[in-house]
């Protein structure tokens, strides 16, 4: 293959990664295919479903709408990086399990990223704020109710100091 390659350095889930990638490689393909971080999913590849959401420097973004080269020098967190340092589930992940905030699990990594983005900015979100925060993430299984419940649950637990 004669495609020109660009070198990038990205901090992914706390680990420095470098690679040589073609300009047209999307960030999600780099994460999934090259780094084998398959927790981030692809649902539409045109920025609507949110299944590919990741954190870029602490903000939720759609990794299907970014090229890997654009992540150069940035910090990426995927669902694989959401657990506590000791490997146990974070409160948010645990609340999702407690409230059964999923069925097939396909949208779940993106939902967790959206929820994390919300809770980092707003420790006591209202129903409407939660719905707005996950409004860009489609779930076909749950009707969102148990996801909203789980985010409330996580907010309550985090407010009382749980990790």
């Amino acid at each position: 293959m004669s495609e020109k390659l660009y070198s990038i350095s990205v901090e992914v889930n706390g680990v420095a990664r470098s690679a040589h990638v073609p300009a047209r490689l999307s960030l999600v393909d780099w994460l999934r295919d090259d780094l084998r971080l398959t927790g981030t999913h692809v649902g539409c590849e045109h920025g609507i479903c949110g299944a590919c959401s990741i954190m870029l420097d602490g903000e939720p973004v759609r990794s299907c709408l970014m090229y890997a080269v654009q992540a150069d020098g940035h910090r990426v967190t995927t669902v694989e990086g959401l657990a506590n340092p000791d490997g146990s589930m974070s409160v948010l992940q645990d609340s999702f399990c407690k409230c059964h905030a999923m069925q097939c699990g396909y949208c779940t990594p993106g939902m967790l990223i959206a929820a994390k983005g919300l809770l980092e900015a707003n420790r006591h979100p209202s129903d409407t704020e939660i719905r707005a925060a996950i409004g860009g993430n489609l779930c076909r299984c749950t009707g969102y109710q148990q996801i909203v419940d789980a985010i409330h649950d996580a907010a309550r637990r985090m407010a009382s100091g749980a990790k």
């Binding site: 004669s2 047209r24 590849e45 399990c97 396909y106 489609l138 299984c141 009707g143």
Partner: protein, 802 residues
């Protein structure tokens, strides 16, 4: 979290318990088709027809083959020569379907060639270089036009665009119409939508020439999938091994990528390398053959002035698109609940399945029942409006009463149990109906468009396949079993083996809960695995809201055999009769003598190692399988087409309050209550989740989602920007009210719930929207009721009154 005790006296069933599946999903450790990476795996991109109907004049693959990294370009010519046509549900042998077209293309998006390359990106580059010359042919897009005598024939050899047509008459229909005080007629139209899972379809295959075995990993939910794949590939059944441990990213009946699988299997074998195909979104929406019912109903209702519905005439025309598959049978399943939850004694049903030059249909949640329920519920509201009778009173009057079960409907199906009045009353109380009416009336006074909608609907469950033999007497399928194997290993750990894949229904939780219940062991410690098709027992996959009933029943049956074996071992060792023993938490003691006990560990040890302590005639080791037939079984239909369709009938009532912005036509759902009775719930969180999800899906089907076609046969909504799936902003807070009428036919009294919500939501929302439009003197009976459609209705009323 503390576990609550089940209200019904079960130890684990019905309690709030965490699921087995969720932890792997929240940690990003699901295992989906797109996560499969086989060493040396190649990737497929597809070349699709831009024409709705055309002759393929020539295909030039050379420019594509010249791209570095391209391994192969497969065309329909070679593919159809090497494989058999896919299975068709109805008797239409000339309507042949393959993954790649040869000679003729019949819809825009139909696959014409497949490019295999080192990466998906290279395959896509090369796919653009495949030169296909087409010669356009006439086409037909509208189903009514397709029924006209001079219509363009989608499949010339079939001789007609009609795939299936029959008029059923059950009971004295004409007499009822002659005697009834009133009659009304209307058309209700269900738009072409589908379940549209967020994960597209994906499949990977690997051929081992040494063993002659084709391994398949797919995001599949399909009965008889391994068998059909093997047949089409002209392989013996035992040369195809489908791995059911792939997590499926949503399906709701739909993920039946048989054509994809045959294509990938063929290429893996032909090229001797592992091959994978993951649909992109457009391929999924356009060429994935996964649209849903596209149906209109010409409804006629005969009723008396007191509100008694005497008879119905239902003509249903369903546009299945360019090929058949199983989709025409989606007109057959509603036969088993054709009068809904009502006492209607005479029914004429005339289903017609017609082909057009559109994307083919696949099975969608409810298998045709949701559109039927929508038409029935619109009929109920129209009758009430005609008689100026309260809609709830009309329903109460016609609903089957609790004391009438089992209740035989005119089309030959017996409903198992129910208490429809109680569920309706509970839901009305939960939403505070009088207050809701006041809220609506005040909103109207303030000049807003506000409406309340109600539906009372059935969810047939326990899926058998009686519609197959009903619609195609040549197909004598009268069993639709499911199975489970339970094994206790030497360490005393329990493993349950299920024999199909899951797409979010929580089957591992189901099986472990049921086994735990029977064996009185902690479900959290029970492992459940998905067999591959060569080590699996028979299964018909999670269709027709059947797994709680069928897999649950099979798991219970196998666990009971284990329990019986443990008791027999104890009886032998205590030299007493099994009746003198009691089983508690896995230990067996002599009744009244707790100290005379053989513990779980001791019993397991005997079964695995101490043959000298085993009773004669019992196999060593500790495992049991159970194959369960659908209660009531599929039966053979009578000559006039009466048949026992599914065994169990769940019930749901929806009450929804909507306000519509008169300036934009934008509806917003302000309140939503669903009363639901699916018998005994194995895991309430799972049941509620599926019900919420079904309602959201129903909101989409009724207000937003449509695979729209242009007049020149192009799909106009092939992305999520134009095919609109409801987000958390469109789906309101939903309140579910449970009720439990156990089924007398199932192991624990459970019924199905996989299609819950979706079967009643569109009906209720359509009724709410019409209630809101009522003061303007306009109505709408076409789904989806888009903003534009509503705005047009509202402005036409404004013009009329001006």
């Amino acid at each position: 979290m503390a576990e609550e005790k089940s209200p019904s006296g079960f130890r684990y069933i019905g309690t709030k318990r965490r699921t087995k599946e969720d932890p792997r999903f929240v940690t990003g450790r699901g295992h989906y088709a797109a996560d499969i990476a086989l060493p040396g795996m190649k990737h497929i991109a597809l070349v699709a027809s831009p024409h709705p109907s055309a002759r393929i004049v020539s295909i030039n693959t050379k420019p594509a083959l010249a791209v570095p990294g391209v391994l192969y370009v497969l065309t329909g010519e070679e593919f159809q020569g090497g494989t058999d046509a896919l299975y068709v549900g109805v008797d239409a042998p000339k309507v042949t379907r393959y993954a790649l077209a040869r000679g003729i293309v019949r819809y825009a998006g139909e696959w014409v060639a497949a490019v295999v390359a080192d990466t998906r990106a290279i395959a896509e580059d090369a796919a653009e270089l495949v030169e296909v010359e087409y010669e356009s042919l006439p086409y037909v897009i509208d189903p009514e036009a397709a029924l006209a005598p001079d219509a363009h024939l989608v499949h010339k050899a079939h001789g007609s665009n009609v795939l299936y047509h029959r008029k059923f008459v059950w009971g004295p229909v004409e007499e009822a119409f002659a005697k009834a005080d009133h009659k009304l007629a209307f058309r209700a139209t269900w738009g072409r939508s589908s379940t549209v899972p967020i994960e597209t379809f994906g499949v990977a295959a690997q051929w081992d020439a040494g063993t002659g075995l084709l391994d398949i990993w797919a995001s599949i939910q399909m009965p008889k999938f391994p068998d059909q794949a093997a047949r089409a590939l002209k392989l013996p059944g035992n040369a195809v091994r489908v791995h059911f441990d792939v997590d499926v990213g949503g399906s709701y009946g739909l993920k039946r990528g048989i054509k994809h699988t045959v294509l990938v299997g063929f290429l893996a074998k032909r090229l001797g390398v592992p091959v994978r195909l993951i649909e992109d979104r457009l391929e999924n929406m356009r060429g994935g053959d996964m649209h849903g019912p596209d149906r209109f109903f010409d409804m006629q209702v005969a009723f008396d002035r007191d509100g008694t519905i005497r008879a119905l005439k239902i003509r249903a025309v369903d546009d299945v698109g360019a090929y058949a598959g199983r989709s025409p049978l989606q007109l057959g399943k509603p036969v088993g609940a054709i009068c809904g939850p009502y006492q209607i004694r005479a029914i004429e049903y005339e289903p017609t399945s017609v082909m057009t030059n559109k994307t083919p249909q696949e099975a969608v949640r409810g298998f045709g029942q949701a559109p039927t329920n929508f038409a029935l519920e619109r009929a109920m509201d129209r009758v009430a409006r005609y008689l100026k009778m309260d809609r709830i009173e009309l329903r109460r009057k016609n609903l089957i009463r609790k004391d009438q079960f089992p209740y035989l409907i005119p089309s030959g199906t017996s409903y198992d149990s129910g208490d429809y009045h109680a569920v309706l009353d509970k839901a009305l109380a939960a939403i505070d109906y009088p207050a809701l009416e006041r809220e609506r009336d005040e909103a109207r006074k303030a000049g807003r468009l506000a409406g309340i909608g109600i539906s009372t609907c059935l969810e047939p469950s326990g899926g058998n396949t009686s519609f197959e033999i009903l619609f195609n007497p040549k197909n004598e399928t009268t069993t639709w079993m499911d199975s489970c194997l339970v094994r206790v290993d030497l360490s005393g750990s329990i493993t349950g083996l299920m024999n199909t894949s899951s797409s979010g229904q929580g089957h591992e939780t189901l099986v472990s809960t049921v086994i735990g219940e029977v064996l009185e062991r902690d479900p959290a410690a029970i492992r459940v695995i998905h067999a591959d098709s060569l080590s699996a027992l028979p299964s018909n996959s999670p269709v027709g809201s059947r797994m709680a009933i069928m897999l649950g029943g099979a798991a219970a049956g196998a666990a009971r055999k284990i329990k019986d074996t443990l008791v027999a071992i104890a009886a032998h060792n205590f030299e007493c009769s099994p009746q003198d023993l009691e089983y508690r938490d896995g230990n067996v003691n002599v009744k009244g003598v707790p100290s005379k006990v053989l513990t779980w560990d001791q019993l397991v040890e005997i079964a695995h190692r101490k043959y000298h302590q085993m009773p004669p005639g019992i196999e060593p080791g500790l495992q049991a399988k159970f194959v369960w037939e659908v209660p009531t079984g599929p039966t053979v239909p009578t000559p006039d087409g009466r048949v026992q369709m599914y065994p169990c009938y769940s019930f749901e009532t929806h009450i929804v309050y909507v306000e519509i912005d008169p300036d934009t036509g934008k509806p917003s759902l302000k309140r939503y209550v669903c009363g639901h009775d699916c018998g005994v719930m194995i895991n309430p969180d799972i049941v509620h989740g599926m019900t919420y999800g079904g309602i959201a899906h129903g909101i989409g089907a009724s207000l937003y989602e449509k695979f729209a076609y242009t007049e020149d046969g192009q799909l106009a909504s092939g992305t999520f920007m134009d095919y609109l799936i409801p987000s958390a902003m469109e789906v309101p807070d939903i309140h579910i009210v449970d009720h439990c009428t156990p089924s007398p036919l199932t192991t624990f009294g459970q019924k199905g719930s996989g299609e819950a919500g979706y079967l009643g939501a569109p009906a209720a929302i359509a009724n709410a929207v019409n209630d809101a439009l009522d003061p303007l003197g306009v109505s709408i009976d076409t789904l989806p009721m888009s903003h534009l459609a509503l705005w047009e209705r509202i402005s036409s009323a404004a013009k009329k009154s001006a």
